[in-house]
Symmetry: C2
Subunit: 364 residues, 2 copies
Amino acid sequence: MKLQPTLRLPTHSLPQGPFWLKEKKTFSISGFKTLEGKALPDFELGYETYGNLNEKKDNVILVCHYFSGSSNAAGKYAASDMEPGYWDALIGPGKSVDTEKYFVVAVDILCNVCPALPMVKTVGPSSLNPSTGSAFGMDFPQITIADMVRAQKLVLDSLGVEKLHAVLGPSLGSMQAWQWAADYPEMVERIVPVIGSGFETSNFVAAAVELWARMLKLDPMWSEGRYTSATFPMAGMVSSLEMLTWNCLSPQWTEVYGFKALHQLASQRAQFIDPNHFLYIVHAVQTFSVREKLKDIRAKALVIAAESDFLMLPEFSKQAVQECEAQGIAAEYFEIKGQGGHLDGLFAIEQVGARIANFLGAQN
Amino acid sequence: MKLQPTLRLPTHSLPQGPFWLKEKKTFSISGFKTLEGKALPDFELGYETYGNLNEKKDNVILVCHYFSGSSNAAGKYAASDMEPGYWDALIGPGKSVDTEKYFVVAVDILCNVCPALPMVKTVGPSSLNPSTGSAFGMDFPQITIADMVRAQKLVLDSLGVEKLHAVLGPSLGSMQAWQWAADYPEMVERIVPVIGSGFETSNFVAAAVELWARMLKLDPMWSEGRYTSATFPMAGMVSSLEMLTWNCLSPQWTEVYGFKALHQLASQRAQFIDPNHFLYIVHAVQTFSVREKLKDIRAKALVIAAESDFLMLPEFSKQAVQECEAQGIAAEYFEIKGQGGHLDGLFAIEQVGARIANFLGAQN
């Protein structure tokens, strides 16, 4: 395969500041039951807001995060931070999602895979089970994309938000965007699912994430989820992330940088990820579908895929748009060009900024 | 992704007989040293021949097998056999590789991954180490594609063959075809590498097979290769083959049949595969390259890829053909159409039969 020396490592290489500074906010949730009726312990959910809520409260854009992301969508916490939030190229004052115009809200998902990061506030298998005094582990109730969305709704309720001008999100975030449109059709006016697999997880993607989970579970240190920090299943976690990274970058990328680079990226990330949380998110991905609710959707959809995505194939997004149109949903397809694979939905998002800005600005 | 109800399970569904009956032959090799200078124990190598060697001994076609294949390339051993050899649609009397015209030879590779199958005769980690009386395990010398080819050469020498009209092979077999052309340029007139990754293993493919190996090694039952039949690392082997199968079928296939079908296929195959042999073949794939020997090649090449191949991407074959042309090698590219993924190089081979027949029949 032809070498592309311009390919870059998948790290944020965004224009240097000035970035505005932001703070992590938290919202306390108690009495939350999953849709399956299982009670979660009381917990704090992290979120961030950028811009200001207007008087009519009709300028709200919700941004949902990807598999290993967080509500750290834009801006920095301190000027000295190495990197801003993952979609900083898209979101900010004067940017395509203009925070001088829109009030942007980003919320951590339930079972966020990096519960120990200071910028993440979530609940999941690593949380203390009040009835035992130790971590839930695999006894934590299974959660779905719909549960994530219901938790986000509580945060928006607390802010007095009743309408969403748009819900945006890459990858796992795209699933949340579809779920929002399906579960709260009166509330959601637009969705921008980016690098997703359409309105339900394809069997192809479900198989890929199953293999990620298998890597982890094969490590005897995983011990059915009863590891400690001293018995962390590092080998399984690293292998799992090697495959995830191999899936999320393009063949061209792997061609140029090779397996050692995949291993290095995986090793760097493994230390921040909780294996059980990872498995819970795999389950949420595998069970995602709003196919049966398509008829409820009122939102317009701008569906964006990445040309070289080797996991969430552009074909999945194109197919979803076709099926939406057949259901009377106003859906458009747009493609990010590049050779960065799935991650182009994060690192090349500026390429579709104008397209997103037009979609957000268009009158109904 | 659009459902394709015509997709079939990856099993031989070839036209019913009559198939000619054949026998497995064996050739005894002693004193074999790998190119790295490591001695192998004496062993028997399995091979099959179809058709008759002509007087000038210039009608020989060598067929090299794929990762989990064997010298069982065509025909049946008994009329009651469920299936003929993997390329029976291509090879036989009156077929594209016409055994009324050509003398076809197929040889088992060193470290064939199915050493316990009655149709396979090979040597590898499962062989007895004469100096210990138990299996070599991971103490067996590492072998390369070049070593496989050198062993095949001994079989051909014993038959008095000094010219190869052509060397054909799918996938791992394509690597052997390139190696033959590079190492014995005076002997090889034509090569037909099918569903390969060009004249060297791409980093993308090397990463994929590394992940297959990682799956196996994560299983504690693997025990650095010191398992027994009673402690066989089945979980790791099945997961490894799940990923292999996911790689070797197309996204469309997985879309239609889902993960359960991948699991079923993997489980069926796991019992026949020796995990250590599997790891040795992974190593052979990862170290394959004849880039430095391209200038030696005299053979003409017909390089065939499968349109929906998601492992050995058509791009790899196209790139190889371009680079060969730049080196003055007469190389052509041809593509199998279909949605069966990498395995279309086995199960849809009849589609390119006429193209291969023309290539074989053309005058130099």
